[in-house]
Each structure stands twice: as structure tokens, then as C-alpha cells.
């Protein structure tokens, strides 16, 4: 914690200022970003409306490669959506208290990313209006979902995860909302913060039960988040296609999710830090720690890739070996090399302390990793489907501009939600930071 944030009041002031005293900050860049993301969101809306009007034929999907960008986007977004809970829950349980200044926006990121992720499988449906058939509900057809499908698991895992994340995030927010209520001076702010603070008074009785709830939620969050991304992995692994039907997929997906999610946290942390002048709360130390995590994750990812190659060779199955050869020599080889470069080679720069402590380097490398992770997801979808068992049906995917538009515009929606959140809720957990501060003082 930097000197500027070494008192409770300083923390409160730093965090509440953007909401309560916006006139003290420069909002020019916020407005630029807001307008840009609003435009992108409008574009996304157009993409979706046109998609519903015309059908998924707008995309580059074909008879062999029936899954495309939508599934890759889904896996990518859900990966990002995992990091928030990982940070809040796993780091909380590991008593990594430095997380206090970044976990709140990471949790918000989780909700938005998981929400956007959940949108893609629905958009991807041939008949999206019937997505609710995945839920068991009384109906005049006397039909039920088919519970063996990984998509049903997905549906429930995402739904549970989003609802859980909202509860977790909101529960964490209550004391801070109360703080905002009590700091706010306008009637409207007092009212709305008051409503959502639910009448929190900071009573020690409340704190005690609240604390138990929060830590228990953290304990529950870890298996849930692992389940969620394992289930996403099982969308592929619970098949029999070469390159998909691998037991390594669930853990490999969980690590991959953490990997790409952390890069997004880094990017957002840098943005929030710069935009709201929170240098005192979000320090270079945070970036260094996260860079170390990226380095560790990159090594695990590299190991996973190598395990896949080894598995293909060791299985002796011609299709598996042929697929690995295709990854290196086939139509998408440029993508495969780009993925290896971004995910395996580039992060090795974090062996150097100077790189870890340069926010610019950490952010740029993080973004490259995030791109690399998207490429990884599209590679997973494309490679196997393009080069499956049926030789005569080997085909290539040619993305259309609708594919690209929807993918990029979904980033706009994410940014929009984020920018709005910055204006209505405190972006850093004040009560946890205060506690961190008091513990620091004790030591």
C-alpha cells in the first residue's frame, strides 16, 4: 500500500471520489471510451438482430466445421469470467491479501464476461428462441432436457456460476454501499446506495456472520469455478473426436481460463489505476505478482500442449497423430504458431524482474497472451473439426465479416458494462482494503 492510501479515510476518498465527486476527475477519456463502446454495442445489437433474421448461415460455419467463432468466443469469455472468482476466492483462501484492491472489479469482470459468454451459445443456436428447452420446466410436450449432454451441464454451470457470482459480488459490495450511502451528500445517491446497502450498519454481530458467509462463499466458489471450466472443457472432451477426447481437457481448460482471465484483470487494473488515479491502491507490486502467475500458467499451458502431442504419439492412433501433424503443417498452421508464440514463448520474459515490474510490459504481454488464448480456442474448434475421422469431409473454415463483427463488438459490450459500473459502484473493495491496512499496521 502506498503512502497516499495509508489511512482508512484515504482509501475511502480514493475509491469514492469517482462516484461522489466526479467533478474532481477528468472524464474526457471515459466519454471517448463510452461512446466507442456504445457504438460497438449498437453494432453488436445489429449483428444479433441480423443473425436472428437471417440465421447462423451468416457466419463461416459449414457442414464439417459446424462450430466456429461463437464457440471460441464463448470459451474465451468464460475463461475471462473465471478469473474474477479465482482471484476473489482462491486468493482469499490462500490468504493472499494483496488481492483486496483488485478483487472487486475482477468479480464484476466475472459477471459481465460470464454473461457475454453465456450469450454466445444461445446466439450460436440454429433456433435461438428455443434455448429454454435446456431447462426442465413443465410443458405440454411432456419433454425434458437430455441430461447427458455437456451443453446441459454448461447451461447449468453457467447459470449457477453467474447467479453465484452476482451473490458473491453483491454480498461483498454491501458494506461498501453502506459507506457510499454515508458519504454521499445528494439525496438520490443516498437513496440508491441506501436501498442497495440494505441498511448495513457495520454491526459487529453482522460483520461476524457476514464474514463467515463471505469466506464460505469463497470456499464454494473455487469448486464451482473449477467445475464450470471443466464442463466447458467437457464440451469437447466428452466427445469422441480426435484431439478433443482427452482427459487432460478439464484441467487444461481451467488453467487456460485462469491464464486468459488474469491477463484481462491486468488490463483492467491498469485501466482503472490510470483512469481513477488509484496508483496508491493498485501498485506495481500487484502487477509483478500477476506477472508471476502468468509465467507459472504459461509453463502449465506449454506442458499441456506437449502432453497433447505426446498423447497423440503415444496413443498410436493414426487420426490423432495426423491431427498433430495437421496442427503444424495444415491450413491453420500460422494460427498454431501464433498461439505457441503468445502463450508459451512470450511470457518467458517474466523471468526478468524488470519486465515484471514494468506495467507497460505486463499489460502488452498480457494482451498478447489474451489474443493467444483466443487463437487457442479457435484452434481447438477448427483443427479437430477440419481434420476429423471422415477424410472425405475434411474442410476449412472461412470466417465471414459477421464472425469478426460479433466477436469484436462483444468486447464493446463488455467495455460498456464496465464503464457504466465505474460510475455506479465502487470499483475497489473498501472494507477489505481497510482491513488489509489495519493488518499491515498491526504487523
Amino acid at each position: 500500500m502506498q503512502p497516499a492510501a495509508r489511512s482508512y479515510e484515504a482509501v475511502n476518498e480514493l475509491v469514492s471520489r469517482p462516484l461522489l465527486k466526479p467533478e474532481e476527475l477528468n472524464w474526457k477519456f471515459w466519454w471517448i471510451a463510452f461512446m466507442a463502446s456504445l457504438a460497438a454495442t449498437a453494432l453488436m445489437l445489429v449483428c444479433i438482430l441480423w443473425l436472428f433474421t437471417k440465421g447462423v448461415g451468416l457466419w463461416g460455419v459449414n457442414t464439417t466445421i459446424v462450430w466456429g467463432f461463437a464457440i471460441a468466443n464463448y470459451v474465451w469469455w468464460i475463461g475471462i469470467g473465471n478469473a474474477g472468482t479465482l482471484i476473489s476466492a482462491m486468493l482469499l483462501l490462500m490468504r493472499q491479501h494483496w488481492r483486496a484492491s483488485i478483487n472487486r472489479f475482477a468479480e464484476a469482470m466475472t459477471i459481465f464476461a460470464a454473461g457475454i459468454a453465456g450469450l454466445f451459445p444461445i446466439l450460436h443456436l440454429g433456433r435461438p428462441l428455443y434455448f429454454y428447452w435446456l431447462a426442465p420446466y413443465p410443458n405440454t410436450m411432456a419433454l425434458w432436457p437430455q441430461w447427458r449432454s455437456a451443453l446441459v451441464w454448461d447451461f447449468w454451470a453457467i447459470l449457477s456460476y453467474i447467479l453465484f457470482s452476482i451473490l458473491f459480488w453483491y454480498a461483498g459490495l454491501i458494506p461498501d454501499l453502506a459507506c457510499m450511502r454515508d458519504r454521499a451528500r445528494t439525496r438520490g445517491a443516498r437513496f440508491w446506495f441506501g436501498v442497495f446497502a440494505l441498511g448495513w450498519r457495520g454491526s459487529a454481530h453482522h460483520w461476524q456472520i457476514y464474514h463467515v458467509y463471505h469466506t464460505t462463499m469463497a470456499c464454494l466458489g473455487v469448486p464451482l469455478v473449477v467445475t464450470l471450466h471443466s464442463v466447458v472443457g467437457m464440451d469437447f472432451a466428452a466427445s469422441l473426436m480426435p484431439g478433443w477426447s482427452e482427459t487432460i481437457y478439464p484441467p487444461y481448460f481451467v488453467v487456460g481460463a485462469m491464464y486468459s482471465g488474469f491477463t484481462m484483470v491486468i488490463a483492467l487494473a491498469a485501466a482503472v489505476r490510470w483512469g481513477f488515479s488509484l496508483e496508491a491502491l493498485i501498485t506495481v507490486d500487484h502487477f509483478e505478482v500477476m506477472a508471476k502467475i502468468l509465467l507459472a500458467a504459461s509453463i502449465i499451458m506449454s506442458l499441456s500442449y506437449m502432453t497433447e502431442w505426446f498423447g497423440a504419439w503415444y496413443s498410436g492412433a493414426h487420426e490423432e497423430r495426423s491431427l498433430v501433424a495437421y496442427e503444424f503443417e495444415g491450413h491453420y498452421r500460422a494460427l498454431y504458431y501464433a498461439m505457441l508464440f503468445c502463450n508459451c514463448f512470450l511470457p518467458q520474459i517474466f523471468w526478468f524482474k524488470a519486465a515484471r515490474r514494468s506495467i507497460a510490459v505486463v499489460v502488452v504481454v498480457g494482451l498478447m497472451i489474451n489474443i493467444g488464448m483466443w487463437i487457442e480456442r479457435i484452434n481447438i474448434v477448427w483443427m479437430t473439426l477440419s481434420h476429423g475421422y471422415a477424410v472425405s469431409m475434411w474442410r476449412i473454415f472461412h470466417p465471414t465479416y459477421w464472425d469478426y463483427l460479433l466477436m469484436f463488438s462483444s468486447l464493446g459490450l463488455f467495455a460498456l458494462l464496465y464503464l457504466l459500473l465505474c460510475r455506479i459502484a465502487p470499483i475497489v473493495s473498501m472494507h477489505e482494503t481497510r482491513r488489509l491496512l489495519s493488518q499491515g499496521a498491526q504487523q
Partner: protein, 218 residues
């Protein structure tokens, strides 16, 4: 500092929170209610017809056999609404000047079909076959109700998939012997369960096949 909220705010917030919990279930419940209601299934609706044909009169009072008009019910998937010619076999003699029958005479004279409004309606993806039901002991009134008491035709059963399945899963409760198929006033005897099981044997019905998707959808 004054209170921000009045005391009743507590109740409001609590009600809202409970509503958030309850609402999804309520919506599903209401939706199910609507979907199985006559508004959607079309039960007990009297539709406007070009000629107010009375099954009550023709079947109940005159005792015409179903097959006199619905002549393909034993041969084809369609029971078939009769050609105008069938009406005219009698009505060229009876009620020849009745105002009600003017459209029938017009149709016959101009050789233009009468356009009836469909009462019993299944979606296009449901392949229902009258003849196989008739041949396997499903009587007319099981699905069409007491047609002989209907002055104007009505749908008496919901014709939803769940309704179809209720019989396809347990045909024993509804099967009749062949001689009772066209009996409008047939009602299940006391030992229907036993008789139904015997009839399943007799008709060689493979019950496990009846709830296959491919039975009705293809």
C-alpha cells in the same frame, strides 16, 4: 442526520427480494397454464363454418355411421371430410330449398369445394394416421368426444403431445374391441385394465414402440 427511509421501506425491500426469488417460478407456472389452456389448445371452441353442420342431428338423431361421410378413415391417414357429392346424395332429396344448405348446392353446381374451417388441428410435423388407430382399437369418441351430442363440431381434447402420450404410454386404459370403435357412447367397462391388456395382445400392439419419436415425427 435524518433517516433516509421511512419504516415501510423495510417491507417494500423485503417483498421485492422475495419476489425476485418467486417470480421465475411464477412465470413458468403461468406459461404452463396458458399453454395448456383452451386459448392455445383450442378446446371447446366453436368455429364458424360455411354450413352449420350438426353432428348431433346426423349422428345422434339419424344414426349415420361415421364412415358414411368419413369414408377413408379405415384406409388412409386422413379420415377425409366428405366431398360435396356425399352431402348431395341425401340433400338432393331432403331440405332441397333450405337456406342453410345453399353453400352446399352452390358448391355442387359450380364444382367449387366448400371451404370448411379445421377444428381438430395438428402441427405439420405430426404424422397422424387415422386408419392405424381404428385398426388397433382406438375409438372415434376417445379423441373426438361425444360427437353425437355436438350441434356444432368442437374439439374436446387438448391434442397436445402430453395428451397423445398419455394414451400411447398406457393404451390399455383406452382400447376397445373392434365392434365398439364407432360406438359414440362407449365408456370403459369396470375391468378395462384387464380387457385393455387383452386387447393389446389381440391387436399385437408393441407398447414400447408407441413412445418412439419416430412414430409421429419424421
Amino acid at each position: 442526520m435524518a433517516q433516509i427511509f421511512r419504516p415501510y421501506a423495510d417491507s417494500v425491500v423485503r417483498v421485492v427480494m422475495i419476489a425476485i426469488l418467486v417470480l421465475p417460478f411464477a412465470i413458468v407456472g403461468v406459461a404452463y397454464g396458458v399453454m395448456s389452456s383452451p386459448y392455445i389448445t383450442g378446446e371447446h371452441l366453436t368455429l364458424e363454418q360455411p354450413v352449420p353442420f350438426s353432428h348431433e342431428h346426423h349422428v345422434g338423431e339419424l344414426g349415420l355411421d361415421c364412415r358414411y361421410c368419413h369414408s377413408y378413415v379405415e384406409k388412409s391417414a386422413f379420415a377425409a371430410v366428405p366431398p360435396t357429392h356425399t352431402c348431395m346424395t341425401c340433400h338432393s332429396q331432403l331440405f332441397t330449398n333450405a337456406e342453410l344448405l345453399a353453400p352446399v348446392r352452390k358448391s355442387f353446381a359450380e364444382r367449387m369445394p366448400i371451404k370448411w374451417t379445421r377444428v381438430h388441428r395438428l402441427p405439420a410435423y405430426v404424422y397422424f394416421d387415422h386408419s392405424v388407430h381404428i385398426a388397433n382399437g382406438v375409438g372415434c369418441s376417445t379423441c373426438h368426444g361425444h360427437v353425437d351430442r355436438m350441434p356444432l363440431m368442437q374439439q374436446t381434447e387438448p391434442l397436445t403431445m402430453a395428451w397423445c402420450l398419455s394414451c400411447h404410454r398406457n393404451p390399455a386404459a383406452h382400447l376397445r374391441p373392434p365392434e365398439e370403435i364407432y360406438n359414440m357412447s362407449w365408456s370403459p367397462p369396470d375391468n378395462q385394465e384387464q380387457k385393455g391388456r387383452n386387447l393389446i395382445e389381440r391387436y399385437h400392439i408393441r407398447v414400447e414402440h408407441l413412445s418412439d419419436c419416430s412414430v409421429c415425427h419424421r
